[in-house]
Symmetry: C2
Subunit: 171 residues, 2 copies
């Protein structure tokens, strides 16, 4: 089974993101707008309980924090992903680190750059055009994040939430 771990930001920011994802993100519809904490990873269904226990432990150790979104940027030339910048923070870095350790140990393909994807799988020309138009706009929002979610992927690519974890709480 393929799992992923994400933060869903405020409805306001999700609505802003989806108004753009609708046009530019080939994954629009597969998953709501999100900030990825740990990229999709394979795990045996029998290890789900161990993963859940570990995530409960991680959640209990990190207090709710303020997440700040900023303007539009891109991972070009690594890839043509366009995203809302999310300010790096100690809480995000700690969550990401702990989610790549112990029972959750997997290789990190890239350094952790917090972001909320709004466009992907664009041609070079589309990418340049969309980025050029959006990078003037301001998507600065601040919001308290008090939870994250463990998701699993269905055969047709859609993601279903398995569980919510509350920051700063034991359960």
């Amino acid at each position: 089974m393929k799992y992923g771990i994400v933060i869903f930001p405020s409805k306001t920011l999700q609505d802003k993101a989806n108004s753009l994802r609708k046009r530019y993100d080939s994954h629009y519809g597969l998953i709501p707008p999100h900030v990825t904490l740990k990229y999709p990873f394979e795990a045996d269904e029998h290890t789900t309980e161990a993963i859940v226990q570990e995530l409960r432990h991680i959640a209990s150790e990190v207090q709710p924090f303020t997440l700040t979104s900023g303007n539009v940027s891109s991972f070009y030339p690594t890839n043509n992903v366009i995203y809302f910048k999310i300010a790096q923070s100690e809480a995000l870095a700690t969550l990401n680190n702990k989610m790549h350790d112990g029972v959750l140990a997997t290789e990190k393909e890239y350094a952790f750059v917090p972001h909320l994807t709004i466009g992907q799988n664009l041609s070079d020309a589309e990418h340049a055009d969309v980025l050029g138009r959006l990078k003037m706009l301001d998507y600065h929002y601040e919001q308290v994040i008090d939870r994250f979610h463990l998701l699993y992927q269905l055969e047709d690519g859609f993601w279903t939430v398995y569980e919510t974890f509350h920051l700063g709480k034991d359960c």
Copy 2:
């Protein structure tokens, strides 16, 4: 904000459902396959915490239970919704009742018939054709349900999970 309360059945059953929803369900993509416990209802964002507290209380009072899916049926002539039958059970009825009381009190438009929708907004001809072909097939699965989810709807119709509630547990 519009909220809804659902059970996500096993990945196996969700995959079976989505292979059909892809063709027959106009809401495919807006939400993973689910069994509705409480239909979408409006609530002020300031009452979210009271709703969450009430759902925690309800979850703690109902033990995990076995959910049994069956063959394909339809709500025709009330509407052209085609679904996997879900066997009525004391746990489902109790959850549904408690979710229409107290802070969660809303009118029930229909009697509670547990089901997992696989087709909707079909023309009469399509509905008759699809139902005729699917109702011979067997979708009998049994699975333990130990959780339900509170969701909210984004402006473009997509549903995001707000929180998971564990049956038989205080948190």
